[in-house]
Amino acid sequence: MDAFLNQTIDAYYLRIMIIIGINIILALGLNLITGVTGQLSMGHAGFMSLGAYASAILSIQLDAPFALALLGGALVAAFFGFLIGIPTLRLEGDYLAMVTIGFAEIIRVFFLNFGPGGKAVGLSGIPQNTGFTVVWLLVLVVIILNRQLLTSRVGRSFYAIRENEIAAESCGINTTRVKVLAFTVGSLLGGLGGGLYSHYMYYINPQDFGFMKSIELLNMVVLGGMGSIPGTIIGVVLLTSLPEMLRIVDEYRLLFYGALLVILMIFRPNGLLGDVRIYDIKKWWGKKGGRGT
């Protein structure tokens, strides 16, 4: 399949599509934490780097098969997501945001001093196992599982916590457990995306996963619409391809990007598809097709 695609599609466009796929996985993870559960996380790049480094080291040092490396990376990230989830029991809002920023910075500094990761020189020679098929198959699986999770009992308690934590608690939701769960699953996806990224890029270094990367991912979730799977996907597609299209105006690209964020927020403050869930699209889709459910 990959060989066929490589022949028919221009490598440049194929590349962007793969990056979009990876970003969808990353952003869906963040969406679960911030968009759905309402716990502002500004350090998603930290989980991404954990997954990227862990899986790359597994591949390079231990010759682990690709699937195992990806799984390892995702699990490492999930473990730290679980750890970082614990302070959320006591913190909220911007204090939590600060802890996530701090945590991501600590991870970045750790990798800057981490010998097996090549320190600031970075890690190169990572086998390039990530291809179009793998990425988009995983995207499909993640979307379906994500959707299953969100329509389940646990998923609805995620939304409940975002809307009103105290009310959720008095309805018998174990908010502690649910919040930690959201962090764990969200960072698992972050780690998975990181693993795919490192096995696609061939070379990673700690500066790739800085504060701006976290912000970029957060932008994708908020721009598309918080808590909405289709919204997140649209946010990713837009924010990944837009800078590429703006390459013509190169110098002014970031200027446009900044202005665009402000304008979009003024006119669509809840994101392009704020809280539109797959369920809503389905209803709309069903009606349009004349086969209402």
Binding site: I9, Y12, R15, V121, V139, I144, Y203, R253, I278
Partner: protein, 397 residues
């Protein structure tokens, strides 16, 4: 119900793929088929380097050097009778950007060669893609290890740190008698973290002692704590392996704290801003090596200097010279091979011997690593930047 959901999600994803496919095909039709680079009238060269972001200081002069070389080639009739066109995208110093751009150059723009990147890490990313697509990449600044090992399409023309650092350490210990040295590394700078071990090894091998080690980070301005520590350490000289901005700021702080010490570093310290930012704090107190010097230039360099000043109204630096040379060397290889096909002219490129470029005399060894001689030892003296302190010869092994 669940079945329909999955079906529709799949449909949605398929539609997105088809969309992107259409985009891809549409652009394919506009340009000639893949695999035949430079089928058009022009020979295109792709620029790799940052025009914005924290390493733009290397990309911008590089772009000017490349532009100048291309203009000169075109004025003399181009390469093999074809005009040359430079394409300049900004990679912002980010690895994901350079990966996208490199792919775009090769598959969409159909360039005949890639010139750049000035940093080692990003060069590796681009080199891997270039090698897989059988495209020549010619880095004008990557000094770290593991670049040309990526494959036979990867070249570079820089003064290698492994060649220059031992020569300079020899000068420090044996000529100057500086035995007790302090080393400062810029911890988030790949160039610096790679150069430090080279310096440390050379110091130990030649009988020097490292009495203090510290780190800073690029992009910071407060180095008061490190300088206070350094002052208490009492070293004869300071080896700093990072870039010139931080070098100037460290020396400023040292002046403020009344610490009189000489700083020695690599070609990362080569930048006009060293003198501009450091002022009196760096004058004759910072010594660094480079393969290129505008002070006491060779005839080739002198001509380049005059032309560059006339064109851009500023002094060139190492990167302008190396990008300029890179274009000229590639033009020479294409002419000698009578082909613009990377798989053909790369053989001519590998044979390059004693090429008298504006950035020094370059020879490619059997392993395609460049040797440049001599090593220029530079400093800041009054209004002159850089001022030549010494020329240390290098033996070609």
């Amino acid at each position: 119900m669940k079945g329909r959901f999955i079906k529709r999600t799949a449909l949605l994803l398929c539609m997105m793929m088809v969309f992107s496919l259409l985009g891809g095909c549409a652009s394919n039709q506009q340009t000639p088929q893949q695999g035949a680079p430079a089928a058009g009238d022009k020979i295109k060269l792709g620029f790799l380097g940052a025009l914005t972001g924290s390493v733009a200081n290397y990309g911008i002069p590089g772009q000017k050097g490349m532009q100048m070389a291309i203009d000169e080639l075109n004025a003399e009739g181009g390469i093999l009778g074809k005009q040359v066109e430079g394409i300049y995208y900004d990679n912002k110093g980010e690895s994901s950007e350079i990966a996208n751009i490199t792919t775009k150059y090769i598959t969409v723009d159909k360039v005949s060669a890639l010139i750049g990147d000035p940093t080692t890490g990003l060069t590796k990313v681009a080199a891997d893609i270039a090698q897989k697509n059988k495209m020549v990449i010619f880095s004008s600044g990557a000094t770290g290890a593991g670049v040309v090992e990526i494959g036979d399409y990867v070249f570079r023309n820089t003064l290698l740190d492994t060649v220059a650092a031992p020569v300079v350490v020899d000068w420090m210990i044996n000529d100057k008698g500086w035995q007790n040295l302090a080393v400062i590394t810029s911890n988030n700078n790949g160039y610096s973290t790679a150069l430090t071990p080279i310096f440390k090894q050379a110091i130990t091998e030649q009988g020097g002692t490292i009495i203090a080690e510290d780190t800073i980070n690029d992009g910071e301005t407060d180095f008061s704590a490190q300088v206070t520590k350094l002052k208490n350490a009492g070293a004869d000289a300071l080896v700093f392996t990072g870039y010139y901005t931080e070098a100037a700021l460290i020396m400023n702080e040292a002046q403020k704290k009344g610490l009189d010490i000489t700083m020695v570093g690599g070609d990362g310290l080569y930048g006009q801003d060293l003198a501009k930012l450091g002022g009196t704090a760096v004058e004759e107190k910072v010594v660094f090596y480079a393969g290129f010097s505008t002070d006491q230039p060779s005839p080739e360099t002198a001509k380049f200097l005059t032309d560059y000043r006339a064109k851009f109204n500023e002094d060139p630096d190492m990167f302008s010279a190396q990008y300029y040379d890179a274009v000229m060397i590639i033009a020479k290889a294409m002419t000698d091979a009578n082909s613009t096909d990377p798989s053909v002219y790369k053989a001519e490129l590998a044979k390059l011997t004693d090429y008298p470029g504006v950035s020094g005399v370059t020879t490619f060894r059997a392993d395609r690593e460049p040797t440049k001689s001599p090593v220029c030892l530079l400093t800041v003296k009054g209004e002159t930047f850089p001022a030549l302190l010494d020329k240390l010869p290098v033996e070609v092994k």
